[in-house]
Symmetry: C2
Subunit: 136 residues, 2 copies
Amino acid sequence: MTGAGAPGAGTAGTTALDPVIAARLKHDAQGLVAAIIQDDETDAVLMLGWMDDEALRRTLTTGRVTFWSRSRSELWRKGDTSGHVQHVRSVALDCDGDALLVRVEQIGAACHRGTRTCFDGGELPTATGIPEEPRP
Amino acid sequence: MTGAGAPGAGTAGTTALDPVIAARLKHDAQGLVAAIIQDDETDAVLMLGWMDDEALRRTLTTGRVTFWSRSRSELWRKGDTSGHVQHVRSVALDCDGDALLVRVEQIGAACHRGTRTCFDGGELPTATGIPEEPRP
């Protein structure tokens, strides 16, 4: 138990997220933004996590993806328990500041179930659209 | 103005989302789940939107991606104003039920700024991680 503190709070010995970046974030009611994790090698979307400012700061500065766990209310660095580490390759913020795209080198499975992505096996029945006209 | 109603509410003349699917969703406090939109041709992550049950129902049954707008508090079908339609190719729900991965044929730009994705130009300075050992 590391006592990570409330979302947005720093931890002893760390510095705050760059205020220029922090000002661009549009947090939800819990102080979080969504973080889409994409495999930098295969382009597969691996999972969606959540980051408070401190999780984003650690992700940007340490080379390891760190999330805020909404269920456990604590910071968690991906792979510390499972070994399934995510090494950061790039991070981009979207146009309205509420979503991050984090490209990673994924070691092992991204999902706690052991599957490569958290979407494997979750396909929903879909009426796929047929464009009215050929794509230019 | 179409008066789309509150999140989760159906609209006159429509039916409800399949209750088996609805039961698998883990909504946030606003009744929404995150929807990652990925280009089915290039695998680029285009944007992140939000869906209530009715937006998901329409997405699954009509072949066109529909979102819930958190800022305007109404349903919006992507492309109705801009022409930048998203034709659904597949939809998958993640392991904990709070995120959807929607693969689409994107017509034109996904972002309202005219860029291909909402993450273009949003790169943040990152200390990329170097794995300690070569990948197997």
